[in-house]
Symmetry: C2
Subunit: 253 residues, 2 copies
DNA sequence: CTGGCATATCTTGTATACAAGATATCTGTG
DNA sequence: CACAGATATCTTGTATACAAGATATGCCAG
């Protein structure tokens, strides 16, 4: 039982063991599948067979099934009881909702961080912006993305509301998959860095209104990128997703 | 693993499939366990054994394990790899965070509902208030609670953001367990009904500011009830929960 | 060639056996 | 009696076999 007070994460400069073996087989299968789904390496609508996955991972169906059940809870796969399992299609109509939710959550984070952030926490946030600058210079998209997420997580930490970032991660999943379909926009990294810097600068001054506006504007950049493509791969999307709330596994309660 | 070996509810030999004819055994076990955990019938800190649960439910370990894994994702149980599984203690220090998050989510819901609610949706919301009035008169606490939740869900529906309620349900779990420990406050139902009526009235008028204020005030009632007891059963709580985000199952990521 | 029914073969759900770490107990030794 | 070590017995993690529904296939009648 480890009980550890966490104010600031060490955050290794290096992704460390990215493809390292996780503790359990189920965790490994979960990580790999989730990563491939989010990167669209496995496209929306693709069929997944527990037997095939078990063979390809060299494990039995048990850990594969465990991973799939968890992915179903995250709405990343859909399990039809005695029929089959597929990678969820992207619910296009729900993306604005996800962004709206993310906005209020992150506004709460910056607002509260304005009141409660310690100096070391502010430093940590700035550090993530610096990491992004370096990644931009190096042209390392993956490192940029990682530092981007660390930035938002650090703000939630500074607010003393770390679970805000847990919720945001959960909510942004489908949006992330959508954005993978759009072409990388040139100069985006530099713009994001500017916006991030504006947010943390306002937090540092304790200017809640300004910080919230900056964060809102930053996230509205996501909204503007929505009505972009989607006609390229219409079968990657589902127009109207029925009674949401994991209609596939168990009962939604 | 110290902790009481407290037996899991006897659960009649005849599982009363009539009242809970869930499709799969795993779903049934999940529902029953979850209900008993939230009602504190199984107290925080109680040990859970997959074998014992399997015997008491008359099924094998497989569906029991599936249910426990899902409950672990919801932070309702904690699984220590080769050691044991316990009902999660209530993270007292995280309750204000949960309430703060819920506030901004529901403020988003009422604000958006002011713009988008249809007449039938408004009627639906009023209907839930009416159900609460009836439950109050009948003194039916369970029915009141159910209508209470339906009220908040209906607002999210009216906003066109139904997943807001899904998130709120997820966030309020630990607060709900906490409130089960406090004595039922006389006159609370009537007060809640008043507050609900004020919210829907403001939504109906399209007065977003007023609706948000009403909802905020309503939810602040939760906050005021926090520093109540907690000394009665100090072993039901955990002061500082380390690296949040399901530290028990798999890796957070 | 077309339609319909039986069947073969998929799928997921469940039960059971085994593996291996963690913990408690008991035993032997000083 | 105190303490250390072996061991018995817990725990969860995984593999495998079987059950049963869903789907595809193919065969046969018209």
């Amino acid at each position: 039982m480890i009980l550890q007070r966490s104010s600031v994460k060490p955050l290794p400069a290096r992704p460390a063991l990215r493809s390292a073996p996780r503790s359990t087989a189920a965790a490994l299968v979960y990580d790999r599948l989730r990563s491939q789904i989010l990167s669209l390496a496995i496209p929306p609508g693709a069929a997944l067979s527990e037997n095939e996955l078990a063979k390809s991972f060299g494990v039995s169906r048990t850990p594969v099934r465990e991973a799939l059940l968890r992915l179903a809870d995250e709405m990343l796969v859909e399990i039809v009881p005695k029929s089959g399992t597929t990678v969820s299609r992207i619910p296009y109509s729900q993306l604005p909702e996800a962004i709206a939710i993310r906005k209020v959550l992150e506004e709460l984070a910056v607002r509260t961080a304005c009141e409660r952030a310690s100096k070391s926490q502010l430093t940590n946030i700035w550090m993530q912006v610096e990491r992004q600058r370096e990644a931009d210079h190096a042209g390392d998209i993956d490192a940029f993305h990682e530092a981007d997420e660390a930035f938002h997580a650090a703000i939630a930490d500074a607010a003393g509301y770390p679970s805000i970032w847990q919720l945001v991660k959960q909510v942004k999943l489908q949006v992330d998959r959508y954005r993978r379909l759009t072409l990388p926009e040139t100069g985006r990294m530099a713009r994001v860095i500017e916006e991030h810097a504006a947010v943390i600068a306002a937090i540092e001054k304790g200017d809640a209104a300004r910080a919230m506006t900056a964060m809102r504007g930053h996230l509205e950049g996501l909204e503007h990128s929505l009505p972009n493509i989607r006609n390229l791969n219409p079968d990657y999307f589902v127009e109207d997703v029925g009674e949401f709330a994991r209609p596939t596994t168990m009962n939604g309660k």
